[in-house]
């Protein structure tokens, strides 16, 4: 268990800069999730932390000690791979033991460690099978078992759940969360699935093209995304980003949004700093509204806009309604059976959750 500091780290393959001055630092017991689309450099960064890739520039410190020049085995880390990377010719037990064998740990200690880990992960009955005889979820557990027995300072996970089916993914997610709670080890976890990031992390680093866009607690990233990119990437269905013109009404702002074949909608009571209000009044901005912040207008929630539903998708617990707003397609998450395709509807908006972005730089306006 230890801290991890990534200090202006760069990585280039020839002329191609894959990571550009990435700086992240987390404390003992933190669960850092690197979140970003494919090719943004997540795995590269993780491999650099592991010592599997050379570092072009900057420093990586584990527990305060610079590890730039240490080989993987001297960094006291364990890693779980997307493909699990189990040794296919060894049994589960041999897979878990392998690292200990190399470090010449006595048989009795090895047995004890295997027992503890396999009990924890409920794979004791699988110890004598080969990986090919396991299901995806079981393989995943074995890969974790292999990591756990090392008792490392730092756990690294590279998209460990993306090969599992939806159902299993949810279960294993909870399991990893529980494991983290129990072991308390510092974890770096790579994923492109924002739900995983949200549920697991204590800290999320959203990356794009080798640059960290935002580093924060998950709910903060969700509620106050640093820019449009993060806003769109985190959350599903994605945050709706609607062009609007900002008006000042006292200390709060009002967004004026065009609606096709109807009068423009006016969403008032958006809180904003006085300075920003001054700067953006009368100018074009981007309004971010999460789907769950729409609701069917009732007595208590006054209607802010009236729209025509385009497509309606019931998901079971909720219904997703798609409609046009400000010239873009917008999704609202509503309770079941309240929305019907092709019908007109009056919607309310939870203005306290609205986020505004500069229409040029696309960064958040506070």
């Amino acid at each position: 268990m230890s801290t991890l500091e990534i200090d202006r780290v760069r990585k280039a393959y020839g002329h191609l800069e894959v990571l550009k001055e990435v700086s992240i630092s987390i404390g003992t017991g933190d669960f850092l999730v690197l979140l970003g689309p494919s090719g943004c450099g997540k795995s590269t960064l993780l491999n650099m932390i592991a010592g599997l890739e050379t570092i072009t520039g900057g420093q990586i410190r584990i527990a305060g000690k610079t590890v730039n020049d240490l080989s993987p085995k001297d960094r006291d880390i364990a890693m779980v791979f997307q493909s699990y990377a189990l040794y296919p010719t060894m049994t589960v037990r041999q897979n878990i033991e392998f690292g200990m064998k190399i470090r010449r740990i006595a048989q009795a200690d090895r047995d004890r460690a295997v027992k503890t880990a396999s009990d924890l992960l409920q794979i004791t009955h699988l110890l004598d099978r080969k990986p090919s005889q396991l299901s995806g979820g079981q393989r995943q557990r074995v890969a974790m078992g292999r990591a756990i027995v090392r008792e490392p300072k730092l756990f690294l996970f590279d998209e460990p759940l993306s090969n599992l089916d939806a159902k299993l993914r949810v279960d294993m997610r909870t399991e990893i969360k529980r494991l983290h709670a129990r072991l308390g080890t510092t974890i770096v976890y790579v994923t492109h699935d924002q739900i995983e990031a949200m549920t697991l992390a204590t800290r999320v680093a959203v990356m794009k093209d080798g640059v960290v866009q935002q580093l924060d607690e998950p709910q903060a990233v969700y509620d106050r995304p640093a820019n449009v990119y993060v806003a769109r990437f985190v959350g599903s269905p994605a945050m709706n980003i609607v062009p609007a013109v900002l008006g000042a009404e006292g200390a709060t702002a009002t967004a004026v949004i065009d609606i096709a074949r109807r009068p423009a909608a006016r969403i008032g009571g958006i809180s904003l700093s006085a300075e920003a209000l001054r700067r953006y009044a009368g100018r074009k901005v981007l309004v971010g509204i999460r789907p769950e912040n729409f609701s069917i207008a009732t007595a208590s929630a006054a209607p802010a806009l009236t729209v025509d539903f385009d497509v309606v998708e019931p998901t079971g617990p909720d219904t997703l309604a798609v409609f046009q707003l400000g010239g873009v397609e917008v999704t609202a998450r509503l309770p079941p059976r309240q929305a019907h395709a092709g019908r007109e509807a009056a919607l309310a908006v939870d203005t306290s959750k609205i986020v505004l972005f500069d229409s040029e730089t696309e960064t958040r306006i506070d």
Partner: protein, 297 residues
């Protein structure tokens, strides 16, 4: 799981079987019928040309009473074992080395593979010279000053078979290399990374993890090399012509000379049947297990 399907008309349903039938027919005739024919010859008294008088297992008795055949069988085992072991080992080693991001990989690969392309009728002569103590390697090394150096296996009936192994390995290890290389290219990178993180050294990673993972490639190498080993014919003829004495006789050369040089067609056929039985004893269980496991999987 396959697209085994139905089609509207009966004929269409039978089409695959109809199309595969000629090949099957050809193989049944040219392989199985001919094997049967050879089997029949082996229980007749045929000498110069086939005669069809049943003599029981007389030719087999004769065959096993021929010292030359014993030499041939013993040689087949020595040769096959060494040839397989060395070709596989060398092929694997070269494949591993070639897989280290080598700059001139294409050229090197071509060099390792070219012996497969040459007919042994003449490369045999080149090898004969190279292994001749008075002309080849031994002479060169002796001339360089190491006068005690000996490489005269080819002159000694006890060691001559090893020269055949050397030439055979030279010819076939490149092919093994190609298959292993293909296997290595298919291995998941992250397995190696995982082992590295666990602190395994490179040789250890190869020994404990990668090489065991090459088992499918290993199987096909062994099957194809066995095929080459069993059929080795030109190799022996060109290199040693079965000599010194009869020291490098193999079943294939024995069969040929019994049938065509010694007027013992019956004995030749008997030796062919013995060879086929050996092959079948090895290959059939293998085929059976391969095809069965595929059905289950």
């Amino acid at each position: 799981m396959s697209a085994s399907t139905r089609m509207s008309s009966r004929l269409a349903g039978w089409l695959p079987r109809i199309v595969v039938a000629p090949s099957l027919l050809v193989v049944i005739v040219t392989v199985y019928l001919f094997i049967l024919w050879t089997g029949v010859i082996s229980v007749t008294s045929s000498k110069f040309v086939p005669t069809y008088d049943f003599v029981g297992l007389e030719q087999y008795v004769r065959l096993w009473a021929t010292p030359r055949w014993h030499t041939a069988v013993a040689n087949l085992f020595i040769f096959s074992a060494l040839f397989l072991a060395l070709s596989t080992g060398l092929g694997l080693l070269m494949a591993i080395l070639l897989d280290q991001n080598i700059r001139a990989e294409g050229a090197l690969r071509a060099i390792y593979l070219y012996p497969m392309a040459l007919s042994f009728i003449v490369t045999g002569t080149a090898w004969k010279w190279i292994m001749n103590p008075g002309l080849g390697v031994q002479k060169v090394v002796n001339d360089l000053g190491w006068t005690d150096f000996r490489f005269d296996w080819i002159t000694n009936p006890d060691t001559a078979i090893y020269t055949v192994v050397v030439a055979g390995v030279w010819q076939s290890s490149g092919f093994a290399m190609a298959i292993f290389l293909a296997g290595l290219r298919g291995i998941d990178n992250s397995v190696i990374k995982a082992a590295q993180i666990e602190g395994a050294s490179l040789p250890l990673i190869y020994r404990q993890i990668i090489i065991p993972m090459l088992r499918p490639a290993m199987l096909s190498v062994i099957v194809l090399l066995s095929y080459i080993a069993i059929k080795s014919f030109d190799l022996v003829l060109a290199l040693t012509n079965g000599g010194p004495g009869t020291a490098t006789e193999l079943p294939s050369t024995f069969m040929f000379s019994a049938t065509f040089r010694r007027n013992q067609m019956g004995v030749g056929a008997a030796s062919a049947v013995m060879m086929l039985m050996t092959v079948a004893a090895i290959i059939v269980p293998y085929l059976y297990s391969e095809l069965r496991s595929e059905n289950n999987g």
